[in-house]
Symmetry: C3
């Protein structure tokens, strides 16, 4: 008996979860298609996948012989590597394609590129694209599974799922019910904020979004209508009010392009008014958790001592992304297989 | 017995074909070294490799422990990924090296790069280079196999083989004998056209090449002399004559650089006069097949409805590239092993 | 019994060397931490690893399940591929991250990138960086092993180890004791020269460094003090004196940036005065060995006929890099595991 066999029972393969909750989603393009039981199913499966990632169980064969292609039109170390590592832990055949160094540069259309990659054996297409909605266009014609790894300012569903997973692991009882969670920063341009609004409100959290008024445009109306027409959240530019008694704060990356667009006077001004500092966190609940989807501009949207302090879950978020993506890959490919 | 074992007999490994046709080619630099029986041998072996690619048979061990390095001085998603997937299905160890992000930028000579990659374990070098003939230079000194993945305007042998394979699968009886095949567009700068002229005429097709006179220079003389000094083909700038009763048309990519070089008045003009449209195809034989080596400029050399229409084999060409490259890799490495 | 098992005895796994020499180094950042017995241990283990690289033994499982990430902020085909191939021969899970096409471009700090890669499963970080000392910064916080693959003008320890390994294989008796070894060229900016000074003097070689005075600044003082405060070497701009009776010469790459910085009048002038030519080698000992860390500027620091001549070990250096890196990876990861 090899050491690997000794560790695991045949029935314990994390990929063969027998959850009674149906997962009809061949693609994962946004969190808004997920019911709360489906969200919980991802969380539960990720908890098992975690044991594979942490080498406490051997690699799964869930995606053996399945071609996974990472098609990244925007650069991203963490997301690309996270999906690559996740897919390899499920024994998938991974191919990386990035906009630099590919015929994408020759102006081939997105759909032609999709068809090419499909013909070359891709059964899962993990796509990041600067244009909101691009993965939907691809998913309409792709025969396998499309996973949105971030599209424009629209959505980043696996990020929201890993954020929720990370928060639940640190909340007593694993529940966000009634917990105050603040999303702080450039909400307007953030796909991370949009995807999180769905999952956090679904989890019953008291969600506040906070930033300069120019970077919150349109969210007032949504907050009043409620997510899914029901789940209210709060919009404010008052950082103190937002952080008061907060159980968790997610700082968002400030893109320097925003200054050029005239939405902000200066980075310095932004940091002074909205940067997440130890002083500002003094008003939050004791042990308030700090998160950031990365990459960070330390000293701008978040102070270095906060980013690297004891309340920070930022590195843990990165680590949790792998089992979450393993769970999503396993569920979607199974749905695609029928 | 595992599911894999159940599917395959030990003797059925696609890589162990026992064809009586000799394959003396350690390298594949151009189609012009291939006899017709050798071309057929590639086709037949590809048919078996196809079962591995389509997961109806398990991965072959034909290249197990063999280092395959993709050395791409020109960007190409489809060709690089195609070779990568092909090599992995034969269990090769694949390394990708592209001109961006490598010491190639430091001006190291091609031969030094080859020697370096050879010393690092490459036994097969798949090379794409903007300079015609570059793979020949490399093959003179490389101890393993060199596969030309496109060199300047000279040759693209695996493209021609996959084109032939694709055509034969769609011709009644699998034969091109007497079939009218048109290569339409910028023939002058096309390595695809050159490599196809050899294989298509060898297959007995009635080959026509068609494009603006400025993009056909020199081909009249070759047509008169004949491929291999014997196999005639037709050169014309008359699209109607070319397409009349055609059984298949290959549209070629129009490089935008051609305008700058003064060879063409404008892209618009080119599209109007030589673009492959439904109207133009009306003169062709019923069910005339449409091909393109990709990436396409839709709306220039080919209309979107033609590219995506029922006669189009464009996506199938991409898919067929993998088993063709598997066959070529298996044959050449076996020849190299002696 | 499988063919693999037939070849190797269980106790013969090259990764399980039972050397009595302690290897306390979790990281390898520079050669200056290595005692002579430790250097010899790397050489001996590399000799065994060589059998795996040359396919005379099957792949080792020494790094099975270990994530190795190549983090290259400077482009380098040979070093990146060398580490990639080395890690794969030890069954590691390899991820490549380069500065182009990654969020490194977004200005994320080096430490944040390190934490991200660690969270994504990296247990070994192979890092190349333009800033001298960068790997030290990373190693202070990384929980696994950091291997310096070249940092600024500071160090390139695996290059020095493979240089020594290559020299020892060609010296009668395998000893450099009393052998004259010349390092020729831009010593000032060379991490290769610095790392080699430690190992070559430790091996007892009579080391001479030679180049234009502007490219030797500061080395006189070091030569007088001696490496490790004891091991003297010679500094000169007199090429004839340096090459006279030399047993080996390492030519260094001349960066074209040096001209712009005013350190050299012209490339032509440099080649004429310091280029390694057959004429200059006439004064060396018979059979004097020629080396270069690559990539070469042929015709500048080294003449093409010398680079490709019978005395040249340049390609062998590249090949030897793989087993050396296998040995270093195996030793450091074992030290990290405690």
């Amino acid at each position: 008996m090899s050491p690997d066999q000794a560790v695991v029972e045949p029935t314990a393969d994390a990929s063969r979860d027998a959850s009674p909750v149906a997962w009809p989603h061949r693609h994962l393009l946004e969190t808004d298609v997920l019911t709360w039981p489906q969200i919980v199913r991802v969380m539960d499966l990720a908890e098992e996948m975690r044991e594979i990632f942490e080498r406490r169980r051997p690699r799964s064969d869930a995606l053996k012989g399945v071609g996974v292609t990472n098609l990244f039109y925007e650069a991203s170390t963490r997301t690309r590597v996270s999906f690559e590592v996740a897919a390899k832990h499920l024994s998938a055949d991974v191919v990386n394609v990035s906009a630099g160094g590919s015929s994408i540069e020759k102006g081939e259309s997105l759909l032609d590129t999709m068809r090419t990659l499909e013909a070359l054996g891709a059964r899962v297409l993990v796509i990041r694209h600067a244009v909101s909605g691009a993965p939907y266009l691809v998913a309409r014609e792709f025969r396998g599974s499309v996973i949105n790894a971030g599209d424009g300012r629209h959505a980043h569903p696996t990020q929201a799922l890993l954020d929720l997973y990370t928060l639940r692991r640190h909340m007593p009882g694993g529940s966000l019910e009634g917990r105050k969670v603040v999303i702080l920063g450039d909400v307007l341009h953030s796909r991370v904020a949009r995807s999180n609004l769905w999952t956090l409100t679904a989890a019953g959290a008291d969600v506040w979004i906070c930033g300069p008024a120019t970077l919150l445009r349109g969210f007032e109306a949504w907050a009043t209508a409620g997510v899914a027409g029901a789940r209210r959240f709060t919009v404010t530019s008052d950082v103190r009010a937002a952080l008061r008694d907060a159980d968790a704060v997610m700082a968002l990356r400030l893109q320097h392009e925003r200054m050029a667009a005239g939405l902000l006077p200066s980075v310095h001004e932004y940091a002074a008014r909205f940067g997440l500092t130890t002083e500002r966190l003094a008003d939050a609940a004791p042990g308030c958790l700090v998160m950031h989807p990365g990459p960070m501009n330390e000293g701008v949207e978040i102070a270095p001592d906060v980013a690297n302090g004891p309340r920070s879950l930022i590195t843990e978020q990165v680590a949790n992304g792998v089992p979450i993506r393993m769970a999503v890959l396993a569920l979607c490919t199974r749905a695609a297989a029928g």
